[in-house]
């Protein structure tokens, strides 16, 4: 999994990190955060996407080995959430790249994130 944090409030990012730590421990499902998109099978995107992020997100998607699963995390990732009316907002994730799963919540609980990704793995 590769984690792309857009213009977020950080909570979703923290909850993604929390998934790695002992209480939730996603490694038991064989998931691991990786340092570069070229090693990833899943792209986690959270936060609203601003003008500056949009270019980078597109570039990352371009570089990703296909097929890649994209997961939009949090209200921001799914719709833009509270920041959707912001002056720098460049569209929710699915207007920029195709999204395979949405995990709503502000922030979604780690359990929800894990459930979402595991469901995706079964697909």
């Amino acid at each position: 999994m590769f984690h792309f944090g857009g213009a977020s409030c950080n909570n979703c990012d923290i909850e993604i990190l929390a998934c790695l730590t002992p209480r939730f421990d996603v490694e038991r499902f064989g998931m691991q955060l990786v340092g570069t998109i070229r090693h990833a099978d899943v792209l986690l995107v959270n936060g609203s996407i601003n003008q500056k992020d949009k270019v980078r997100l597109l570039e990352l998607y371009e570089q990703a080995p296909k097929p890649i699963l994209v997961v939009a995390i949090g209200a921001c990732g799914c719709t833009g959430g509270i920041f959707a009316e912001g002056n720098t907002f460049a569209g929710p994730v699915d207007k920029i790249i195709p999204v395979d799963a949405y995990i709503p919540g502000c922030p979604p609980k780690p359990e929800a994130i894990i459930a979402g990704i595991v469901k995706l793995l079964h697909k």
């Binding site: 944090g5 923290i14 340092g35 601003n50 912001g86």
Partner: protein, 396 residues
């Protein structure tokens, strides 16, 4: 000829996007530049389109880690404008939430610092012990991270007295874990070797850069908004401001660890205080917010949060200005990192506990090829004016 080492913007563990450029000669960092803006959301502007009640939810999302400090400062600010005196029960509840947040934030930082040192055991253990604190939050507020507890003149939910023993139990467990962590960190020769004398900020540096919070306190600058400009229940309880002299990374670890003990003690005293107050007495009625200006301050885990609001008697803020602590703390990188080796630079960067979400302001744009600055302040103003003209023409 110096080489540029980029860190970020999407670093797998630093949870927020930001880009550091270390200009290195050999192993030594000669200069550092950083670039933010990946996280800019235009919150101050958004705030002007929200009613006062809604602004709380917005400022909570300035930063997820200190998602109480911003509502705290905003509440202080609005209560100054409307001249409201809140009830004692509200004060206690606010302080409890604020201090719980400090504990969770410091633990989070300690874990990340461990990771940056290459000490992942610390990361995993600390984050494990952080979970009970989040459980407490879930019990009190219903959410692990964004609590939605504050409103003008009060809090949204009470802490019923019959929950107090359960909270106390978690705190007791937490104290044991803090002892364990303090022992493990303070006695570990590897951590000593990696953090002592690294990233030193002297007292003068702190004053020059106007740094705040634990960053300042670790260099012997004794400032804390909770004591200097008392708010909520802090004047009602006994506690002390923790400082250290050395100013290195180790001192920052020490200050944060000891602060957590203080926080636990503050929470315990607040819980005692709650028992003497009437249950449910958690808000004062407010008719309207008069026109005026107000400032509010609060001590976030990272330092002073400052809010300024101007109102005009309507339901919306006319201007809302936010200054977050990392905004000033990040500038100290130039002092703490230059001259260090690359491996020490990363922990020095992490040591101020930077939080980019809070910090995002308009960033300069650089041309990647020529390195020329594309926009400066006046050009931006001009851009904005041109845009207004354009819209005006269209609407005519």
């Amino acid at each position: 000829m110096s080489k540029i080492i980029p860190i970020g913007p999407y670093h797998p563990l630093q949870e927020e996007p930001e880009l550091f450029k270390l200009y290195c000669e050999g192993e030594i960092v000669k200069d550092i530049k950083w670039e933010t803006g990946y996280n800019h959301r235009g919150i101050e502007k958004l705030s002007e389109s929200k009613t006062f009640d809604q602004v709380f939810f917005l400022v909570e999302r300035v930063c997820g880690i200190c998602s109480t400090s911003h509502p705290f400062a905003f509440a202080n600010c609005m209560e100054e404008i409307a001249d409201i005196e809140i009830t004692n029960r509200t004060k206690y509840i606010r302080s409890i939430i604020g201090e719980l947040e400090r504990i969770h934030s410091h633990l989070l930082w300690l874990g990340l610092a461990g990771h940056f040192l290459g000490y992942n055991t610390v990361f995993m253990w600390v984050w494990k012990y952080r979970e009970p604190v989040l459980d407490l939050f879930e019990m009190i507020t219903g959410n692990r991270n964004s609590y939605a507890m504050f409103k003008i003149g009060g809090v949204r939910r009470d802490i019923p007295n019959d929950k107090i023993p359960a909270i106390q139990e978690v705190l007791d467990g937490l104290k044991k874990k803090l002892d364990l962590l303090t022992g493990a960190v303070m006695d570990d020769p590897v951590i000593h070797a990696r953090t002592k004398g690294v990233g030193v900020l002297t007292r003068e540096d702190i004053i020059d850069y106007a740094a705040v919070g634990p960053t300042a306190r670790a260099s012997g600058v004794d400032i804390d908004v909770r004591r200097d400009d008392p708010y909520a229940a802090y004047p009602l309880v006994n506690w002390k401001v923790i400082t250290a002299k050395e100013g290195d990374v180790f001192a920052k670890v020490e200050v944060r660890l000891l602060e957590m003990y203080e926080s636990v003690s503050i929470i315990e005293q607040c819980l005692e205080g709650l028992k003497n107050e009437k249950e449910g007495d958690i808000e004062v009625p407010i008719d309207e917010i008069p026109a005026g200006m107000g400032t509010g301050r609060a001590e976030a885990p990272r330092g002073e949060v400052f809010h300024f609001v101007r109102t005009d008697g309507s339901n919306f803020p006319v201007r809302h200005k936010i200054r977050a602590p990392s905004y000033v703390n990040i500038a100290t990188f130039r002092k703490s990192c230059i001259g260090q080796t690359i491996s020490d630079a990363t922990i020095s960067l992490a040591a101020v506990d930077p939080c980019y979400c809070c910090t995002e302001r308009m960033a300069y744009a650089y041309d990647a090829v020529t390195g020329k600055k594309l926009l400066n302040g006046s050009e931006l103003v001009k851009l904005s004016q041109d845009r207004t003209d354009e819209i005006r023409k269209k609407s005519n």
